[in-house]
Amino acid sequence: MAAERWRYWPLALTLAFCVAGLIPATARLFEATMQTHLLVQMPLLAFCGGYWVCRSARLRVWLERADPSGGVALVLGSGWLIYWMLPLNLDLATFDPGVRLLKVVTVPVFLGATLTWSWRQLGPVGRGVMLMEGWAILVRLGWIYLISPVQLCSNYLIGDQQRTGSLLLGLALISAVLAVIWGVFGPFRKTDRFNLKQQ
């Protein structure tokens, strides 16, 4: 019996996280600095949505009927990603309760779940494009936040903005290094072994 109930704890955790983003007391913790808002709360909200897709077979069946290719999900997910990258929306989410509600409800669904679904359904080329574009977004956003002489968000000081920009660029650098390591020690290595065996 205990094992049965234990199954639902991760799901409850994700729902609790979303609700925590709504209650002003806990929401303020996440929205305190731009780094926590953009780099902690947003990815975790998206992760919750992705988790729901991976966990729920019923949801996957519905998605299979609604969007077998993953293309619609990709368009929705990318569009919503651009929407939430605007400094305007980050600002509004901090002091407008309507926008905060919109963020907590739609980011898991239209950003996390959609991009996870399209990742599952797209082939290697589609996935490659997603990774490249995602990396490019990190670089562009980080660069803008770092070099902008103007404070872009009315709620976050320019120092905060620049730190966020540096973090984004740092993440992009780490991903690039990881990708290179994977490329060198992953598929290419297997190709070499295959060729050697052939001889």
Binding site: L86, L88, D91, Q151, L157
Partner: protein, 199 residues
């Protein structure tokens, strides 16, 4: 890709573009500050009769200057950043108006730190830039209620900075006939022309 998928993707693209277009006021505003500027011109929100105390200790209100256009900026005397060039700019504008002999516009600097900015400190701020009281009023909100009213009516965002001051918008707000009609940048070189021609 089936035609149904293509159609769904096209619809999703329209939906996302529509949402972005609505939020950014027609792709014109990507930050909160630019959104405020666009909304001021389009919606011209009314402002109430702010009760202020000027640098001589007299109580004044916005309706005292009903026949003039008000050009309002927000300052605090402890500011070491933008309030200094703002004051210098207002001094320039005031001299330009005097030279042209126009008095259809009144310059108004409102302090967002009424607790610290007593009338004496406001007078000291004026003495740095040398502006005449007849055309440039420097005042603070008469009470906390007025401060929160003017912040909510103009959509101003004031956040504390790490050195004990505040970060706030340095834009100039045009108030005509009890409405906020425009928000300009203080660096705009056309201001002199607008002031001498009656705003």
């Amino acid at each position: 890709m089936s035609s149904r998928t293509a159609l769904s993707m096209a619809l999703a693209l329209c939906l996302m573009s529509g949402l972005l277009w609505q939020r950014t006021a027609g792709f014109s505003a990507f930050t909160y500050e630019t959104l405020r500027q666009t909304q001021a011109v389009r919606q011209q929100p009314p402002v109430s009769d702010w009760q202020l105390q000027d640098d001589q200790g007299d109580l004044v209100r916005l309706s005292d200057w009903d026949d003039q256009v008000l050009l309002v900026n927000f300052i605090f005397t402890r500011c070491t950043s933008v309030c200094m060039p703002l004051g210098a700019r207002y001094g320039q504008l005031e001299r330009a108006m005097q030279a042209a002999g126009s008095n259809s516009v009144r310059l108004l600097s409102v302090s967002i730190d009424p607790a610290h900015d007593t009338p004496e400190r406001l007078a000291e701020y004026r003495s740095r830039f040398g502006g005449a009281r007849t055309s440039w009023t420097i005042a603070r909100p008469a009470d906390e209620q007025t401060l929160s009213t003017l912040i909510s009516e103009t959509g101003l965002r004031v956040i504390p900075d790490p050195i004990g001051g505040f970060a706030h918008s340095d834009s100039l707000h045009w108030i005509r006939d009890g409405r906020l009609v425009r928000i300009s940048a203080w660096t705009d070189p056309e201001l002199e022309g607008l002031l001498t021609n009656g705003g």
